[in-house]
């Protein structure tokens, strides 16, 4: 009845675990194992999301004809407004391409977009990650940018076969390059681990004001250029400190979004991602 000798097995398990940790952190070789196990873990995430899904389905079924018609009218109005904006965008885009050709710089192509649903949130308060219902089967790749309708949400850090793990921009280990939309001042935007973001190493004299929109720069080749990321909420100048203390709030609704967009920038091919880079953000 009693086990033969658990000490040897413990030794085997410890050695295996340590090898795996090193491989996972330093090399991409552990990815196949993670990928294979992903087939077994994804159903759990889908199952955990089932009550939410069926709840949404029920509300949809129980809605009255009137409210559906009202929603339909509202969406049609919204579509009309958006189409009108897109018309102007087409002209601007063509103009932009012409100007870029004059400058001899590469043209920005339309990004491929994939819609995904959030099916899980990381239970660990130390880490801010989401699980989405698209994986490598839907051409999701590691390092892909994730957005909602209002702005940038984060990036894919682990693409499983049926679901993927998304690191939020507010995670404490995440940082990215942004610029102020108004004047192009560049800075590093880091997550705080809470709901806010911090602008790092900004000189006290930099021209950044409250309410400024921060957009992605595309430097680091992880995020596509020009997507809104955050809005500056608070600037504190401390006498004696070399840098200003600037906080920002993400424009994306990180805590409320249920559907997200995955974009693949087609301007430049993504550099191969190693484990270390991905966990460090950009």
């Amino acid at each position: 009845m009693a086990p033969a000798n658990p000490s040897y097995r413990l030794l085997i398990a410890l050695v295996l675990a340590i090898i795996m940790m090193v491989l996972d952190q330093r090399t991409p070789w552990a990815t196949p194992l993670r990928h294979a196990l992903g087939y077994l873990t994804a159903p759990i995430h889908y199952l955990a999301h089932l009550p939410v899904d069926s709840g949404e389905w029920l509300t949809e079924q129980a809605q009255s004809r009137d409210s559906l018609q009202e929603e339909n009218r509202r969406l049609k109005r919204q579509a009309l407004i958006l189409e009108q904006k897109v018309q102007r965008l087409a002209v601007l885009e063509a103009e932009n391409v012409r100007l870029r050709e004059l400058l001899n710089s590469s043209a920005e192509l339309d990004a491929n977009v994939l819609v995904a649903e959030i099916i899980g949130v990381d239970p660990d308060p130390n880490r801010q990650e989401l699980v989405i219902n698209k994986g490598t089967g839907d051409q999701v790749v590691r390092g892909q940018a994730v957005l909602d309708a209002q702005g940038l949400i984060g990036q894919v850090v682990d693409a499983g076969p049926l679901s993927s793990q998304v690191l939020l921009i507010t995670d404490a280990s995440h940082a990215m390059s942004v610029q102020v939309n108004r004047n192009g001042v560049r800075a590093v935007l880091a997550g705080s681990g809470q709901t806010g973001l911090k602008l790092l190493y900004v000189p006290d004299t930099a021209d950044i004001e409250e309410g400024d929109l921060l957009v992605s720069t595309g430097l680091g080749q992880r995020y596509p250029r020009g997507y809104p990321v955050a809005r500056v909420t608070d600037i504190r100048h401390q006498s004696g400190a070399a840098f200003a203390d600037i906080t920002a709030q993400p424009t994306a609704r990180l805590d409320r979004a249920s559907h997200v967009l995955l974009v693949q920038s087609t301007e430049a091919p993504l550099a191969p991602v190693t484990g270390k880079e991905a966990s460090d953000g950009e």
């Binding site: 658990p6 413990l10 295996l16 675990a17 795996m20 995430h45």
Partner: protein
């Protein structure tokens, strides 16, 4: 016992998968702090009941599954669960004669130690934000829930004849 052949591996796996579901089921942010280590509780129960079969390597693979499920470094929970299973294998005879309070205390210490080990790994890859004493909340809730989990699994064990 007339028939001592091992049986019910499937049942054990199903209970572990249900625990995995409880690990990721959405909860309010404030309750995430006290989310018990469901998979560890279920694993410990089976180690105590069928120590001949469920041991260190089971702990390792269950932990590995946990790693992929929540997206931590591969081996972080694998290592911790393997060690937890080892400790329980060494103490399963004593655990059977312990009173309820003593059992809960052991579970509290075990969950705390195992979580601390996982925390150390997570710390070394730079993915921790809150101080390590925060794992005490989960250890406490795990200890409190040990008895109900035990009763439920006992019923499962008798109903499906797991040996």
């Amino acid at each position: 016992m007339v028939n001592d052949r091992p049986a019910g591996t499937g049942v054990i796996i199903v209970t572990l998968l249900i625990a995995a579901l409880l690990e990721v089921i959405p909860m309010p942010d404030s309750l995430d702090w006290v989310r018990p280590e469901w998979m560890l509780l279920v694993l410990v129960y089976w180690v105590l009941e069928v120590p001949g079969r469920i041991g260190v390597l089971w702990g390792f693979f269950v932990g590995l599954y946990h790693d992929v499920l929540v997206g931590t470094t591969l081996g972080q929970w694998g290592l911790s669960y393997a060690l937890g299973a080892f400790v329980m294998l060494a103490a399963y005879k004593r655990m059977r004669v312990f009173t309820l309070i003593q059992q809960c205390a052991v579970i509290f210490l075990l969950v705390g130690t195992v979580s601390l080990l996982a925390y150390l790994v997570q710390e070394s890859v730079g993915r921790t934000l809150y101080p390590p004493y925060t794992i005490l909340y989960a250890s406490l809730s795990s200890a409190v829930l040990w008895r109900p989990v035990c009763a439920l699994l006992r019923w499962v064990q008798l109903r499906f004849l797991v040996r």
